[in-house]
Amino acid sequence: MTINIAHAQGSDARVTAAVAAATARIFLLEAHSEFLRLLRAPSFCVPTIAFPLMFYVLFGILLGPGRAHPEAGARVLASFLVLGTMAPGLFALGITLATDRERGLLELKRALPMPRGLYLAAKVATAMLFAAVVSLLLTVLAVLVAGVTLTLLRWALLVLMAVVGVIPFCAIGLLVGSLCKGSATPAVLNLIYLPMSFLSGLWVPLSMLPRPLSQLAPLWPSWQLAQIAEAVVGPAPVAAVPAHALALTAIAAACFGAARRALGRAR
């Protein structure tokens, strides 16, 4: 009897392991397909990879504080890392979701035997991968060209910040993609991306903005993430990081929840 039970438990465990392995394989293939799909689309790669690098070279290096001011250089890097983190989240999720929705692919995926959560998980994983690539390229440029000094730990923390910090922007992209038409989505996302990054002090210091606008900065996830980035590179206090992380989590949860409701309504 005990042997039978042990045998049954053993086979249950094997079935569970097989299901987990199959799900992991689907997730990897789905994320790989999503990555290739975006990598081959210049309309995605140019604004998400080329633009942050180009702007960093232009404003952060050529017109930047220079090698004589390493602390200012680190702060500029932090701003551009946030810019480079925002774009993959907003665009990878927003544009693909709106397109999938409009062209019937989302419906087909719902009818196909893909475990439902994997659709979103693969998109978020893809955005994380792009954020990792952009942050790696930016930090390499910073160290090699702009003369920013980073310890290995800080460098790793910056990449981690980009990879995890992309999630609230994924949530915003998802919300826009679930509400807007495919053709309108890039425009709406740009209308969020550019003003939000400007109002968060990523382009010019907040002190240069009119006071009412600069006081609104804590509302923007990009400002919250920039505070964490600055804490990693040096100037901002580390003690405030949990509060900023909490604010980002709240924004992500609110946008994911709203997107879920919007997608549920559309059915």
Binding site: A22, R25, I26, L29, E30, S33, L36, R37, R40, A41, R103, G104, L105, E107, L108, R110, A111, L112, P113, M114, P115, R267
Partner: protein
């Protein structure tokens, strides 16, 4: 075991109603899809065919009635793993290659067909490395068909599968459909081409404005009303012919007379007797098209 699976339907809609806001898409529809058979769901645009498929796929829920698929709930993962689907309009990611799409969707299924076999069945062996966007409309439709059959489904939904296909591609799709039903797969087909339903389907269901107005085997439906069509050159009056027994309708087009009849022979005999100068006589067995036109006219 095999005979039992013949009797147990693969999918059933029982007394299902679905409305979208004010618009009633389906009203009290009952439909059975049987293993080893193609069931063709016919009807004019907006009749509710796609809604019926969406209900069976679990994409939408009915307001009343019951939907049962492969002994489980429509749309559950276990049911989806045994189901293949080709939707009427689903544009796949432009930049992915055919082989990548087949591998991805095949990975969703527990026992997928080998990739090379799927590609050969769908006529895509030469296109595996081509990005989806670079394919012709017909080739894209073939990829969608390949995705529908790649998981070895027991139940297959084909929503207008041959729209945009050339004759050769359509016939090879028909061959695969027959092979699948031969192996016991249950297929629900919607189509605008009645000759396609006639060529593939064993059973036909006709929807008009969300109601099921006719259902049966292809032969039953074909022979239900109009059985033959007679065409000839004659001066006989249309009004008089309409009163003859066995005549369901008559019309004149210049010198030509067109007669719809439930039984051709007595009408032909009477025509020849009534008009010795009659010429150009043609008698044609009515197809699904005539009956479909009659049913939808009557219901509309």
């Amino acid at each position: 075991m095999a005979s039992q699976s013949q009797e147990t339907p693969a999918a059933v809609l029982s007394g299902v109603s679905k409305r979208y806001g004010e618009r009633l898409a389906l009203e009290q529809v009952t439909l059975r899809i049987v293993p080893g058979q193609v069931t063709a769901l016919l009807g004019p645009n907006g009749a509710g065919k796609t809604t019926a498929i969406s209900l069976l796929l679990g994409l939408v829920a009915p307001q009343s009635g019951e939907v049962q698929v492969l002994g489980g709930a429509a749309g559950s993962l276990a049911v989806r793993r045994r189901t293949g689907v080709m939707l009427q309009s689903a544009v796949l990611p432009d930049t992915l290659r055919v082989g990548e799409l087949l591998r991805l969707v095949g990975s969703y299924y527990p026992r997928p067909r080998p990739l090379a076999e799927v590609a050969a069945l769908a006529g895509l062996s030469a296109q595996l490395a081509t990005p989806y966007a670079k394919l012709s409309g017909g080739q894209q439709r073939r990829v969608q068909f390949a995705l529908a059959i790649c998981g070895n489904p027991q139940l297959l939904f084909l929503d207008e599968p041959t729209t945009g296909l050339d004759v050769e591609a359509r016939e090879s799709l028909w061959r695969v459909v027959r092979e699948l039903t031969g192996r016991g797969c249950a297929i629900l087909l919607t189509t605008h081409y009645l000759e396609e339903a006639e060529a593939l389907a064993q059973r036909v269901a006709v929807l008009v404005r969300g109601r099921l107005v006719s259902e049966g085997t292809v032969d039953e439906i074909r022979t239900r009303g109009v059985r033959s069509r007679i065409r000839c050159v004659s001066t006989l009056g249309v009004e008089e012919i309409r009163r003859w027994p066995g005549v369901l309708g008559a019309a004149r087009e210049e010198c030509w007379l067109d007669i719809e009849t439930s039984s051709a022979e007595p009408v032909v005999r009477r025509l020849l007797a009534a008009d010795p100068n009659l010429s150009g006589l043609e008698v044609r067995r009515a197809g699904l098209a005539e009956e479909f036109a009659r049913i939808t006219r009557k219901a509309a």
